[in-house]
Point group: C2
Chain length 407, copies 2
């Protein structure tokens, strides 16, 4: 079975909006054993949309469209699907009432424009949309199926999970389930991980693959079986084996993030963390704050955006800062201790380095973690620019806290 | 003239990498008057790649491919282009030497694998790649042209700018230039902007369109002319007109950001800003710090990730914080004054509100700007979740500083 996605919208084609839906849909289709073969983006133009949909239906059994279901004249997915499947549109009065009710619940009145959204290709299976105004639909046509979903990511995702995936499984009798488990590591590079698991990378079911991110290497175990439980049973022994081989380089699985793990460990211990950072520009505090929203574990962070700001932000003596030098291990240590004391936290974490670490001859970035037992120090000379460089530093710093909390 | 893009790579199709190249290429093609009609993504599979390229050459005069030019067996763009244009590949010995030299300059030895990259469809025009190992090429075929570029963004961009755009202009005799100017506003909604410029939105050359972002409305003026200067001459009077109508709602143009404008205004005045924030989780400090890297204007920011962290982070008396209530205007005022005093800044900016502003019945977010002349206050009840909600708050807060600095 072959699936393809058609994303519709001139704003997508011209790059004014970045398409994140296709990637997500591809991943979800894989879990029911449907492989994606093509993604096509086409602008809001009836003849071109229709031609793309016709071609998609010629080569693929499952076609999923996103976008073009809104109430404006630019929204022509309904018309193009009807044209590509040789039928007309009708106004579904039940859907009109449903849309009016959706507006009513939010204290708005439905305009005539919005009625357009209740026009449905004749014979289509209606997919009700409880999270937005655009009703969706599936048209079965010559043994194939074309499903039209809204472009708004949270609406599309909700409908895929609750309606489209169950429908596709039932319609095509898809009995295979593909499950993945992602094991996340830090403090070890992709080639070092690869060397330790080379034999496992030759397996065929489950498969094991690696993927490197800044400061993090993921291992993905993927199994195909007739049920979710059977797939998980294939995955479990491989996961156990990986855990034996990689030990505490593993910080989490699946959707877990290193910041989230640090926040959870702090919350479990009833402890708190305060941060101070230069090179990472507040992104360390931002990631920890986001992770910490669910657990009351973090007090706060100080972002220092210029060398001159360091002493006043932390209550350090300017003469001391000058004597230690910027950046330096001594300054990082003092900053970690100062932010720990100032915010009354159990741990103070400092990432003190150049504002532009990618400049030639830039000094290193110094890490210091002030704990009730003393200081843990670190240093990075990787000198990468941009978000990926900062991602590295944030991972190194967060991993210091994780290892400290785990003892 | 019709252009289309074919992006090649299973990792793109499956969403393991997000395609940012297509959007950029679309924008650049527009500047020479070439309109993009389709983007197709296809995996690393010879028959499917070839079929997609054949179809692209049937419907478009210009086809640009990205990806699949590397040295591995998965890299089949060379083969697919040759097959789609009915020719074979030959090993270009000059290119082999060029690739060997590229490796040599970096202290590496070329492997046999890399020689594959010097295989070129017979009769193709070679596009030398000084910034990577993958040579690129253009094949002219039945009045059409297919150009294959690497997927690595910085290589692709360099080759587009220096080779591909000049080649396309010359090859198709494209004399028109399309230039755009984006006028950026804040503090005024898209519909209010629309109402003020309705007459201009009917123009045909230049055209004027609006686009809403969280807390920001952009106006884009686009002109087509025979030279860049002529296009700019069409744009100038419209820009002047927009400036008359929208006054100080306009904060910048083109690539300028509100954070960047605030940082520049501070630097021009030799003044400094310190921030303290809850709801925005450090993103305000992060944006200002990023903008402030080029101008020494910002001292730093304090991110508070829990209610309990507020008093110690700012040196406020816990009893006072309790008396004011969290959040409240009085607390925001005290926080702004405290962060201003603590960091010795000219301005202290506080954004104090609930950690989850989208919860039903969430209290408002309070803003306070402590200046040498006293306090400026603000409040937002928009209650949006996620990055877009935080984007709104950051824009509102930054615009308070901008308006204060402009008097």
């Amino acid at each position: 079975l072959q699936a393809e996605i058609v994303t519709i919208g001139t704003e997508l084609l011209l790059g004014e909006i970045l398409d994140t839906n296709s990637a997500w849909i591809a991943q979800r289709l894989m879990t029911i054993g449907l492989n994606l073969f093509y993604t096509t983006t086409v602008g809001d133009n009836m003849p071109r949309m229709t031609q793309v949909l016709r071609q998609a239906l010629e080569r693929s059994e499952v076609v999923i469209t996103t976008g073009g279901l809104g109430p404006t004249v630019d929204d022509m997915t309904r018309d193009a699907v009807a044209a590509a499947t040789h039928r007309d549109l009708y106004l579904d009065e039940d859907l009109v009432r449903e849309i009016a009710a959706y507006f009513g619940r939010r204290g708005f009145t439905m305009t005539d424009n919005n009625k357009v959204q209740a026009r449905i290709p004749r014979g289509a299976r209606i997919i009700h949309n409880p999270v937005g105004t655009a009703p969706c639909f599936a048209v079965e046509f010559e043994g194939r199926v074309i499903i039209s979903l809204p472009g708004v990511p949270h609406e599309m995702r909700h409908l895929m999970e609750t309606e489209v995936l169950p429908y596709l499984r039932a319609h095509f009798g898809l009995t295979n389930v593909i499950k993945s488990r992602t094991i996340r590591t830090c403090g070890i590079g992709e080639s070092a991980v690869g060397a330790q698991i080379e034999d496992l990378m030759g397996l065929s079911n489950p498969t094991v693959g690696t993927r490197a991110h800044p400061g993090q290497t993921d291992l993905k175990i993927t199994a195909k079986a007739e049920s979710e439980a059977a797939a998980m049973a294939l995955i479990a022994p491989i996961e156990a084996d990986l855990r034996r081989r990689l030990g505490d380089f593993i910080f989490g699985v699946d959707e877990q993030t290193l910041s989230g793990v640090v926040a959870r460990l702090l919350a479990e211990r009833g402890q708190t963390l305060a941060t101070v950072e230069t090179t990472t520009r507040g992104e360390l505090a931002n990631q920890l704050a986001e992770a910490g929203l669910k657990v009351e574990a973090l007090l706060g962070g100080v972002t220092v955006a210029s060398e001159a700001g360091l002493a006043p932000a932390l209550g350090l003596a300017p003469a001391d800062v000058t004597a230690w030098g910027f950046p330096s291990q001594a300054l990082a240590d003092a900053a970690a201790q100062a932010v720990r004391a100032r915010l009354g936290a159990d741990y103070g974490l400092a990432v003190i380095g150049p504002f532009d670490p990618a400049k030639p001859d830039a000094p290193p970035v110094y890490f210091s973690l002030a704990t009730p037992q003393g200081l843990v120090q670190g240093e990075s000379r990787q000198g990468r620019a941009g978000p990926s460089g900062r991602g590295w530093l944030i991972h190194l710093a967060s991993d210091m806290v994780r290892r400290q909390l785990l003892g």
